[in-house]
Symmetry: C2
Subunit: 430 residues, 2 copies
């Protein structure tokens, strides 16, 4: 072949070289530790799902033009998962009789969305999904919000860096009904409010006017955006959603994490399936200044699969790209990860190769990260290799050392050298 | 919606519920620890790749009818990766100038193949890929084979359970040329030999005859299948491949791992791109009795991307399904994983909810896996929940205990109960 293949990854996807992979393994590790410590359990599902799984529940944009879908050789319409919630709802439905509710589950699936690539948005991404199934009360909403806060705090983030903005769809619908009268289309109005920050004020007003709202009603809604949770809930004191919001904020205060949280009537979440508490976690860095991730309560998804099933759900999804941007912006990524010992055994021609092999295997058996230089280069090249691959130590065992039964250990950071007996090499790294 | 969605995962894929996920995280953890200990570094790449990446290098079957591929909305022909080698070759090629060779890399990608599902073969699977780039000698082949052996031994497997069958494509071609004469089509013959175990003897003989082999030549090849590496290499002592095989087996003997290994002239590997050492790891369990995984040397893949590039590669891929079958057949899966403490805090109506929340958060802050019962059920239901979700301890803090400033700790395994002061609860789990 004379025509060479491109080395570029597919548009909107990333290659994870070891440096990037170490970073990702580190932050997935922090998250996993924090969630397992709070008794969440990890699960995963397939990358491909039946396309109708998404048509049935997602907002139109996600099921339609944002989803990678195709017809397989058996004539099935399949999609590469654009989100995890339909999969997890399907999984819960499939074993509903064997489950011990409430379930507290999390996953780190990779997924695809066909969208214009921009900062924080790629076509392939990994998304942490945290969900609680089978608890109807605000307690599960609180547990999800606490998990989000605990995760970000585990990275060293504080209340200056992020804010959890919280609303309630049930409360939202009751307020919209109270402000606009019973006939109003709360769903259509919620979509206009959801887009509010992304469109000029004139567009926002025009869209609400088109839905029958007078300037007075628009002004009334405006006034709610700046209200505290207690002011806002006083507008509809009998709303079940208002009660949920108040209970939630009371416990956030009791736990002393209310400084991370803010009531925000403008948070409604784009997807159609949310039914109660909704929240978005904002990155407060000026260069990001956007919702990093969000979630909420979606009571009836399992019912799409099982007749008469009543399993409520609440959860959130957090993309790896936005999390990495957040950690970078706030300088929360450590200079190095792990930091254990890493030993390179240098190789010389005047010592039998099996001597080096056995030495390397002995170190590995002792749990010491060790590698034998592969190839036959001069010592200078081997030293260079050790430095460039972040080895902490280089072992030198030439013909002279071998004859004397010793090994030279070069500490590459301290630039020190010492000799130890070959037979005691493992102990030298205690 | 009255028509309910199916709860089945897409054909040939699996749902990983927490129990299955724990198993997978456990065996990926064992493998990762073993490879990192041998100074291999983890990487990953995208799930979608340009289709021509596979057409250029794979055997026909994999690039053609086994690959999930489609045209995206931008008119690009893309494939869901059916294997990782083209991706890793592309990644090495893309940064060839910045790399410190030899590279020792591994990855655990999920991938898809469109094939008839059967024991050990699914459409979605995870595959450990281990590769070394930039070392031309047999030393890198040996390092890969050692990694495979170390991984299986880390699971407790011994030489009764598996065998690494080793051959060399260069040696194979030289022997075929010596047996059949220079004009023979070694590639076509290798494909017949590769299928040998899967077809009746008549078919094997018919196919070799069709390629111009006389009964005498077929008998000559038959005689090689049972030869030791020293007998076989004596057939072509000047072959470079013979020298590689002898050096490899000598060091396997020196390291005392030759009991895990066997020369096997019938191992040629289906894919076209192998150029030197090839090997397959066989599961010796009678009910499996098949190649679990394999690999080999593929010297010129990076050259598909970069003009005049000379980066040799050697590696292997191991699927999660076959590994799990192997571990199950040989009874190598422990009864439980982890085995740390897991605490459930029970909830009663006569104590303020924030007391339970604060208690749970204190335990989590102390690194103790803790959960507060979500919901408002009777104590018996909460106890049942604790048992079913594998909690080790249940904390009881009713109105009476709260008034006395104590917590009852129920050890669910030992069926013992003790009281500790609420203020010292973290210390109770030291």
């Amino acid at each position: 072949m004379s025509e060479k293949l491109s080395t570029q990854p597919y548009k909107g996807t990333r290659d994870f070289y070891p440096a990037e992979m170490r970073l990702r393994n580190w932050f997935f590790g922090v998250i996993r530790r924090e969630l397992e410590n709070a008794a969440f359990e990890e699960y995963n599902g397939p990358m491909l799902e039946s396309l109708d799984l998404y048509a049935a529940k997602s907002g139109e944009e996600l099921a339609g033009k944002q989803t990678y879908n195709f017809v397989d050789r058996g004539g099935r319409s399949v999609a590469i998962r654009p989100e995890m919630t339909p999969t997890v709802a399907r999984m819960v439905a499939a074993k509903i009789g064997e489950m011990t509710f409430p379930l507290k589950w999390f996953s780190f699936p990779n997924m695809y969305r066909y969208e214009a690539t921009q900062r924080g948005r790629l076509r392939e991404f990994w998304q942490l999904n945290v969900d609680i199934f089978g608890c109807d009360g605000y307690e599960a909403d609180l547990e999800c919000i606490l998990a989000a806060i605990r995760i970000l705090r585990a990275f060293g983030a504080d209340e200056q860096m992020f804010t959890v903005r919280i609303n309630n769809r049930r409360f939202f619908n009751d307020v919209i009904a109270a402000v606009t009268g019973e006939g109003a289309d709360a769903k259509a109005i919620s979509k206009v409010i959801d887009r509010r920050a992304k469109v000029p004020r004139e567009v926002y007003e025009r869209d609400l006017t088109a839905l029958g709202l007078t300037p007075e009603k628009i002004a009334k809604i405006d006034s709610i955006y700046n209200m505290t949770v207690r002011e806002a809930t006083a507008l509809c004191p009998d709303s079940v959603g208002a009660g949920e919001l108040l209970a939630l904020f009371e416990q956030l205060e009791q736990l002393g994490v209310d400084s991370y949280c803010k009531f925000d009537f403008g948070i409604v979440r784009g997807l159609d399936y949310y039914t109660g508490t909704v929240f978005e976690v904002f990155d407060n860095a000026p260069e990001n200044n956007r919702a990093m991730f969000g979630g909420g309560r979606y009571d009836n998804l399992v019912g799409l699969f099982v007749k008469n099933a009543k399993v409520s759900g609440v959860g959130f999804g957090m993309g790896d790209v936005t999390l990495e941007n957040f950690l970078t912006s706030h300088n929360l990524i450590p200079a190095s990860f792990g930091g254990g010992k890493k030993v390179l055994v240098a190789r010389f021609d005047d010592v039998p190769y099996e001597v080096y092999l056995k030495l390397t295997e002995r170190l590995r058996d002792a749990g010491i990260c060790a590698s034998l230089y592969l190839g036959q280069k001069k010592f200078g090249k081997q030293l260079e290799y050790a430095v460039k691959t972040d080895c902490t130590h280089l072992l030198v065992l030439g013909g002279d050392e071998y004859a004397r039964g010793v090994v030279k250990i070069k500490d590459l950071a301290a630039r020190e050298e010492r000799e130890v007996p070959l037979k005691d090499i493992e102990k030298a790294f205690d």
